[in-house]
Symmetry: C2
Subunit: 319 residues, 2 copies
Amino acid sequence: MEKESNKITLTVERFNVDFSCPVNEFGGIMCDKCERFFDCRSPRKWEIYNAGRMGLVKEKMKRIKHKIAIVGGKGGVGKTTVSVNFSMDLALRGYRVSILDSDFDGSCVPKMLGTVGERLKIGNKGVIPVEGPLGIQIISMGNVVEKDQVITWYTDLRRGATEEFLSHVDYGERDFLIIDLPPGTSADSVNTMEFIPDIDGALVVTIPSVVSQGIALKAALLCKKANVRILGVVENMSGHICRFCGHKNDILASGGGESLARQLEAPFLGKIPLDGSLSKTADEGIPFVKAFPETEAAKATKIITDKVLESIGVNGAGY
Amino acid sequence: MEKESNKITLTVERFNVDFSCPVNEFGGIMCDKCERFFDCRSPRKWEIYNAGRMGLVKEKMKRIKHKIAIVGGKGGVGKTTVSVNFSMDLALRGYRVSILDSDFDGSCVPKMLGTVGERLKIGNKGVIPVEGPLGIQIISMGNVVEKDQVITWYTDLRRGATEEFLSHVDYGERDFLIIDLPPGTSADSVNTMEFIPDIDGALVVTIPSVVSQGIALKAALLCKKANVRILGVVENMSGHICRFCGHKNDILASGGGESLARQLEAPFLGKIPLDGSLSKTADEGIPFVKAFPETEAAKATKIITDKVLESIGVNGAGY
């Protein structure tokens, strides 16, 4: 293993890596702007980090009781579907919920909660979140950029925007912040986890295929690096029940979620099946836990919510 | 519309944007390292760009006759499935094919072509691609990083690695380079399109849902910005045929691909249905066009290949 690591490092070195620390105009090291934060072993990093602008984020984040990240590594596995349904289920139970859509290029939260046409506004206390159904607050680039417009979000800008979304948004007092992380295990995910030092934990979403499972594992490993607890694994798109004959088809194989949970030594939280009406609810902006509470998918989601609330020590029935 | 654009710019400005040009240690502007390349209107950019290290990439790329990008914006829509099956179909027709897996965090090409255990090696003429089935060359981070390892690919490193993958890989004489782009419309996609100035065109992959279609539109708009021709739209996961009763279920709605093609004024190339055996072939490393040539998915892929070859002026039967 040690030998393998060396080999990787050597290969990586051949690929033009610049491992120097980012410095400001006065030559000071800017740990709070560094994408390598979780890989860095310098004992000074927290000191430098805390002396930076993080105070603002910390202060703002104190007013939100629980923060839960939804990760998956791979795109298209249903991180946003899980995020909006989990948020909606929490809201239905009476909690005050905010969703942070950290996907700059593929923000789907506004579409799935029916707020595409609305725009973030700037008020006296900072940016005012868009209000979705049941008072769910939405912070998403999908409510900034027009739908027929493409903005290439440069690295500095993404980092800046993530910070602004956390420090300059007027969330007020909230019970939950659900953080819908983008695909990938690089800068965007690192930025968000770095900015919120007290995330309660992460839900890892995978589809049953082995391919997806391998990428979800990487996302979970990043959480471990960042000291974010894995609350459990959700298997999405887990089989499809034919609406003509009622038989279940395992379209994307089966069991990937359970196997990933074992590998991570984390709880397996449940399987959400594919269902034609669910895709339609997403397109129409009403999460299925609300639109079709009697479906297998909605029931599975509610059990997942119960388990998550229990594992972070919250009484599922309300505060 | 003008007013809307102004509003966006203003909002973006509040988000900590640094719009200054990147400069080197001598104060020279480095257009060839700029993520904002396609947004920049300076007439000097190409001049500065060509004076940089791009010569190497151009020289290497000359020996590959055709370059086709597979884009989708959203993750999980099947960009890699389309990439490996299209590549395999080309290889079956006798073409010399290379695949560049531009997804650093979620590289699935090695898994889907059965070369996970192999590693890129460095020879006299540069990096030697991994050889997959039918002589398909694979360049992927999945053949650099161990599967249980997560590397946070910092922005500079990703850019550097993309450049190395294009300039320091010993491809030799090839007929096709298939570029499997990652989710998103930011740095990674921009880098790749910037480094390869003579891409023949892009295949836009979407799933039928409206949500996916909106993100694919953004990817297509980025191609237009970069002057990359849209060869057409592929609708993936287009319905599922129940293996018990044979009825077709529209799991993710239907018609999204055709509607996107109309919007882009690009050809609609075909629909690839969901099929349980296909996910299995991906996990086992044999693309379905080879493993199950008689399935509807394989037949649809072959028609897509025919149409693409025709649109770039290549005779489908071979050179």
